[in-house]
């Protein structure tokens, strides 16, 4: 166990450096510039939320590299002045922005203010060329005659002329590949259609003394571009909402029902799933026992009783963990962390609590696996038989399953209340049917009743996006979770390693050794694994602190950390049963998100207004 000491040193050292770095960052730099920079970033983020700047950076200034020698730049490369002779067209010069316009902008806009005008002034979009707008694949709007130029030397009458003091804007619509210009905040109408991709904002000058300032978002725009964007957002949302289904309506309904059903089954919302299946007259692929088994294991993990979960898995799904050594290792690491936490049964049996309560785990760790396990009330919620998982509790035991005594009085009162539906399988269907409109009035109900309501909304044919509502539900769980975390901090001010029990601590240390052994064994069999090493180090680091809950690696003790491993285990079980390891709903969501990202890559501008999170309220 000596190695732990060394780890502890790094453990304490790292966070300190980080801290200093943060401090440095705050103290260095010009505050005014930082402020402007922050404002720019904020505006760009708001205007172009779909743009991934790691892949496709937004133009923020003129490029000192991509410019003619007659062009001078100043003021953070935003001001352009002309320093050539300006005798004829050959003396014209241009400069383009640092980056092309990303397609994910959807709608892109920039403005140029004419600070000082020479004889004639040329502003345009697009690649570097002697005079923007005259070269191939270049487009422009020229100030001297108001003409628009597209890939040729002859212009078309387009708009008014412009001069000193005018603010000229250019808006590229990457959804329909058009472009329009603005003058002093007034749209001049479409100038070009069928624009090619990867356009650069460009400006061209030809007369000595000409100066123009660019605004890529550094300042508010004169033209109300956000209003224009809102129109397109509404258009695209309307297109999505009105997407024609036609005669496939029934087909779609079946798909949606299936999505809801599989989601419920996947997470082990057994009673809800059964009720839903009955109401929609659909079938559940997996058999009841299997669902309940998975549910039971999940609950164990989420309650922090990983040892029991491993045991149950080995019992119910023999060979599963043997074939997934990585998963087993992850579980064991977690078990170690839970031992530190004092929640794993291997250490809990040493604690002062009565064996009965130790053995017990909450009878209603909630239908939401993420939520129930983190509820501190659960541990005192009375005894329940470990084999009796949610949804199969005999009806006569209902009254003992008051999950949130303070939150929901309805849940404890009678078996016909919506929240109690989940405890009693026999009751569930009836009460579900008898309360078709309980949805809105039960917003503050417990999470699982909300799940129940979800299903009802759907079966009643109410036009709700089931995925959105489910996400909504999850979100709420997290909120509750945070609130409870706080109370956890308060109530467990005297938390101690392994529950403060010496024997438990010894057991933990022994377990740590076993874990290290397992790691070494895995290394021998499958070669070095960096992830494992990191995991182990992090887990062991906990011991270096007198108060592990309030240490830099204390995050691991957070009950929320159980969720990842829980879903990994759940997926592995499902996979071993030849069932999809991810629910189709999540798959569809992922698919949609991925599609939108793909749209950005293939330069389909509408992706900017078809963001998945827009629909997950």
């Amino acid at each position: 166990f000596e190695s732990l000491d060394k780890l502890a040193v790094t453990g304490t050292h790292n966070p300190l450096t980080l801290h200093l770095k943060n401090l440095d960052y705050l103290l260095l730099g010009d505050p005014a510039f930082n402020y402007q920079e922050a404002e720019l970033n904020e505006r760009l983020k708001r205007l172009y939320p779909a743009v991934n700047e790691d892949e496709t950076p937004l133009p923020r200034s003129w490029s000192p590299k991509d410019k003619y020698s007659y062009i001078g730049l100043s003021q953070n490369n935003l001001r352009v002045h002309y320093k050539g002779h300006g005798k004829n067209h050959k003396d014209a010069a241009s400069v383009r922005a640092t980056h092309p316009i990303p397609a994910a902008c959807g709608i892109y806009y920039f403005e140029v203010k004419i600070v000082s005008k020479g004889l004639d002034f040329l502003s345009s979009l697009l690649p570097l060329s002697p005079i923007p707008g005259w070269d191939k694949h270049s487009y422009g709007y020229h100030g001297d005659d108001g003409h628009s130029f597209c890939s040729s030397g002859t212009g078309q009458p387009y708009g008014p002329t412009f001069t000193t003091g005018d603010v000229i804007g250019c808006c590229v619509n990457l959804i329909n590949n058009t472009c329009f210009y603005t003058k002093n905040g007034i749209s001049l109408g479409v100038a070009f259609t069928d624009l090619p991709p990867n356009l650069y904002p460009t400006v061209g000058l030809q007369t000595p003394g000409e100066i123009v300032d660019a605004n890529f978002g550094q300042q508010p725009f004169v033209f109300d571009i956000e209003d224009y964007m809102s129109e397109w957002r509404a258009k695209i949302h309307g297109m999505i909402a009105r997407f024609p289904i036609g005669e496939r309506l029934g087909e779609w309904q079946a798909v949606l029902q299936n999505m809801v059903s599989t989601y419920l089954v996947h997470h082990g919302y057994c009673a809800t799933a059964t009720a839903f299946a009955r109401a929609t007259e659909t079938l559940i692929q997996e058999d009841q026992t299997s669902i309940k088994n998975r549910q039971r294991i999940q609950k164990l993990v989420l309650a922090g009783r990983v040892g029991e979960a491993i045991e149950a898995t080995q019992q119910l799904y023999p060979g599963l963990l043997e074939h997934n050594p990585n998963l087993l290792f992850m579980l064991k690491c977690r078990q170690f962390v839970e031992m530190v936490n004092g929640t794993d049964s291997e250490v809990r049996c040493f604690s002062i609590r009565s064996p009965k309560s130790q053995d017990s785990y909450p009878g209603s760790p909630s239908l939401s696996p993420r939520h129930g396990a983190t509820n501190p009330n659960l541990h005192s919620a009375g005894a329940d038989s470990p084999t009796c998982s949610n949804g199969v509790t005999p009806p006569n035991k209902n009254k003992s399953h008051n999950k949130y005594p303070g939150v929901s009085s309805a849940s404890s009162s009678s078996s016909s209340s919506p929240s109690s539906v989940n405890y009693s399988e026999s009751n569930s269907t009836d009460s579900t049917k008898s309360q078709p409109h309980s949805g809105t009035s039960n917003q503050e109900e417990t999470s699982d009743s909300e799940m129940e309501i979800e299903a009802e909304h759907y079966t009643n044919g109410v036009a709700e996006n089931p995925s959105a509502r489910i996400m909504n539900g999850t979100y709420k769980h997290q909120e509750i979770l945070q609130a409870q975390d706080i109370s956890l901090e308060d109530s467990c001010a005297s938390r101690q390693l392994c529950g403060g029990n010496q024997a438990a601590t010894e057991r933990m240390i022994q377990f740590g050794r076993e874990l290290q052994g397992l790691n070494e064994q895995l290394c021998r069999e499958y070669g070095k694994n960096v992830t494992h090493k990191k995991m182990l180090q992090d887990a062991f680091s906990l011991l270096a602190y007198s108060d592990p809950w309030n240490c830099p690696v204390g995050q691991q003790l957070d009950p929320m950390q159980r969720e990842n491993i829980c879903s990994a285990l759940n997926s592995a079980i499902l996979e071993s049963q030849n069932l999809p390891k991810q629910p189709p709903l999540m798959l569809a969501l992922g698919q949609a998100t991925e599609c939108v990202q793909l749209m950005a890559r293939v330069r389909s501008g509408s992706c900017s207004f078809a963001r998945v999170d827009n629909f997950l309220h």
Binding site: K183, G185, G189, V190
Partner: protein, 710 residues
């Protein structure tokens, strides 16, 4: 055979229907109130969406019975509410239904019902009233006959979202005149309705918005109040701007833009305010785009035309916004050839709106081109524009003709267009045709356009003259409408400018001296001014035509009358006013007459005119700066005829007059005049005249000399 079989069948069906309808009515008379209630409920279910059933029930006299039950205090509130619902349902039918309901005095009965405390009943009454009042066959005045109704409706606004929706809808349909606006305004419409603009219900927001648009229309008082109203700590104009955001429903955007337009035209918002330039105007331009419904495009174009009519800067901005000028060309493409083949329903729809679209486009073009030469050029260069105007002038719809001629008038202010496109397209031909037989409002625009076409440089002038326009214009000068008289005389004036003797003679003959004199005493000063202009143009020929000289004689008598009349009544301001507007013409006429070979009388009268002119302050300057005239006066002071001497001296006397109660600068003005006249040798002449044998002349000269000494 089939027909024979069918006919009796139909009759039997019909009688069956009537029989069931009768049964519904009969049940309303049942002694058991519970059965009556059930009867009304059954009736309600029977009439929903069934126009035939509605008509049957009305014919069978259900309405008076329902009204009786509704007004009866002994009826249960449930029954009364159901009665109101059935009546509301009956009103939803045809216009004839509404007429029958109104004839049964449903309005006072329902208004009375609003006094009941029961909200459900009130809502049913309001719903029915709403349906009745939004029908074009209902006289809106019925809302205002009882003065207690409006305040009561205002008080009901706080009851529920439904009362809000119905009441605001009633208001916006029943506010048709400035008087209505004032009544609603005085009863606190603005304060009561403003909070509804942020109601959670879209319908309420929308109806409240519509209310404001009808209240603000051409109403300065309302508009001025509106700009200062705060809704939830936000200025009303900002609320309207938010409602114009592009993701809002089109109806809301358009109505909000109307509100701001009316507020702007009423002077409550400046035309250069950013909410007009950057928000309202672009919003209205968007309403004209091809993506909008035909109705929205019509309303958008009309509102935009109204917004920018008086402001050249807005016209310039609109002309470059989103290719508006080109966008409007699309308004003429309905019904499109595609719609005719593919879709009969669409064709019908297009046909219905085609006239409206065309007139709206013409109106907007007229407004756009009313001031700026470049915009006019842009408009005439739009595809087939002139052809469209020409065909628009002879359309059957008066609205289109009027709008087309307005557009033509607006464009005719351009010298360049008169010389080119107007001539190329022979626009004078349909214009002349239009003048033959048209309502007054069309005539005003058409004759006004004709004035411009008759300008000397217009190539259309010749062919118009040949088409016998003079008689027509002369008849216009006899019109009751001052605008038509002005245009008639104005056109004649333009026509007479540098015209040959034949034309001038024709004008004088056709107009007749009597009519000319009548025009000289026209109450409208514009008419007088143009008549004088016509005279100048007629007279500016050498040698003078004999008929003109005769005319001139009578004219001068008339003019003197005018002058003396005007000089006698107020003070000299009137002369100044007349002279500042057409002094040039008069001076030219005077010079012309004094130079010509006229009788002593004519010359004497002319000098008298001059003397009268010299009585005005600014008019004095006109003479003082005209050396020709001064030399003439000097000449006539030394003339052998005493009458002419006297008149000329009278002129000088007025010119050197030292205003006793005048201001300092007037003093110096008279001093300057005196000095100038001394230089010109007038003092010497006056001195000589004090020795004259004629006592009148002697006195006049002495008085004048005294002014010099003063």
């Amino acid at each position: 055979m089939a027909c024979l079989l069918e006919a009796p069948l139909r009759i039997s069906v019909l009688s069956e229907v009537t029989a069931t309808s009768r049964h519904y009515v009969d049940r309303l008379f049942d002694p058991d109130p519970q059965k009556v209630l059930q009867g009304v409920i059954d009736m309600k279910n029977a009439v929903i969406g069934n126009n035939k059933q509605k008509a049957n029930l009305i014919v069978l006299g259900a309405v008076p019975r329902l009204l009786y039950l509704l007004q009866q205090g002994s009826s249960s509130s449930e029954l009364r509410a159901e009665c109101a619902v059935v009546l509301g349902s009956l009103a939803m039918g045809t216009e004839n239904n509404i007429k029958s309901l109104v004839d049964c005095h449903i309005i006072p009965a329902l208004l009375q019902g609003l006094l009941c405390p029961d909200l459900i009943f009130i809502e049913a009454c309001l719903r029915c009233l709403r349906t009745v009042f939004i029908s074009p066959v209902t006289p809106v005045q019925l809302l205002y006959t009882d003065p207690t109704v409006i305040p009561h409706l205002m008080s009901l606004l706080s009851r529920s979202q439904r009362t809000q929706e119905y009441i605001t809808q009633i208001f916006s349909h029943c506010c048709k005149t400035p008087e209505h606006q004032t009544v609603l305004f005085n009863h606190g419409a603005i304060q009561n309705i403003a909070p509804l603009l942020i109601s959670p219900s879209y319908k309420v927001r929308m109806q409240a918005l519509k209310c404001f648009s009808v209240l603000a229309y051409e109403n300065t008082q309302v508009s001025m109040t509106l700009v200062n109203v705060l809704v939830d700590e936000e200025l009303l104009s900002q609320v309207f701007v938010r409602m114009m955001q592009r993701d809002q429903p089109i109806d809301m955007q358009l109505t909000a833009a109307k509100c701001l337009t009316y507020m702007c035209r009423a002077g409550a918002i400046r035309t250069d305010d950013s909410c007009i330039v950057l928000k309202t105007l672009p919003c209205l331009v968007r309403m004209c785009s091809k993506e909008r419904l035909l109705e929205e495009r019509v309303e958008g174009a009309e509102t935009l035309a109204y917004l920018m009519e008086p402001d050249v800067e807005l016209q310039r901005i609109a002309s470059v916004t989103d290719h508006l000028v080109a966008m409007l060309a699309d308004y003429f493409k309905y019904p499109s050839s595609v719609s005719a083949i593919t879709d009969i329903k669409r064709l019908d729809h297009d046909l219905k709106h085609a006239h409206e679209l065309r007139q709206a486009a013409f109106k907007l073009y007229a407004s756009l081109g009313s001031n700026d030469e470049d915009i006019r050029k842009k408009i005439t260069e739009t595809e087939n524009m002139m052809d469209r105007i020409v065909s628009g002038l002879s359309e059957s719809s008066v609205k289109v003709r009027l709008a087309a001629v307005r557009c033509l008038h607006s464009l005719s202010r351009s010298v360049q267009q008169l010389r080119t496109s107007f001539h190329d397209h022979a626009v004078w031909k349909p214009l002349m045709k239009l003048l033959q037989n048209a309502p007054d409002e069309v005539l005003v625009m058409a004759s006004s356009t004709l004035c411009n076409l008759l300008l000397e440089f217009s190539p259309s002038k010749e062919p118009i003259l040949e088409s016998g326009v003079i008689e027509l214009l002369c008849s216009l000068t006899q019109s009751d409408s001052p605008a038509l008289r002005v245009n008639g005389i104005w056109a004649l004036m333009n026509m007479a400018f540098q015209a040959d003797q034949k034309v001038k003679g024709e004008i004088v003959r056709a107009l007749g001296t009597e009519q000319l004199f009548r025009l000289l005493s026209d109450p409208d000063s514009n008419v007088l001014m143009k008549t004088l202009g016509l005279l100048r143009n007629l007279l500016s020929t050498r040698p003078p035509v004999p008929v003109l000289l005769k005319l001139l004689h009578s004219l001068l008598v008339e003019l003197i009358d005018q002058m003396e009349h005007s000089a006698a009544v107020p003070s000299s301001w009137h002369i100044d006013q007349v002279m500042s507007s057409h002094g040039k013409q008069i001076m030219q006429a005077v010079t012309l007459i004094l130079e010509g070979e006229h009788s002593i009388e004519v010359k004497e009268q002319t000098l008298c005119i001059l003397a009268n002119i010299a009585d005005g302050n600014t008019a004095k300057e006109l003479i003082m700066t005209n050396d020709d005239i001064l030399q003439k006066i000097k000449y006539y002071m030394a003339h052998s005829n005493v009458k002419l001497q006297l008149a000329a001296t009278f002129c000088i006397s007025n010119l050197i007059w030292n205003e006793e109660d005048g201001e300092a600068n007037a003093m110096t003005g008279s001093q300057e005049r005196q000095d100038k006249l001394r230089e010109l040798g007038f003092v010497d002449i006056l001195h000589k005249l004090t020795q004259a044998s004629d006592p009148n002349l002697c006195d006049r000269a002495k008085t004048a000399m005294q002014q010099y000494l003063a």
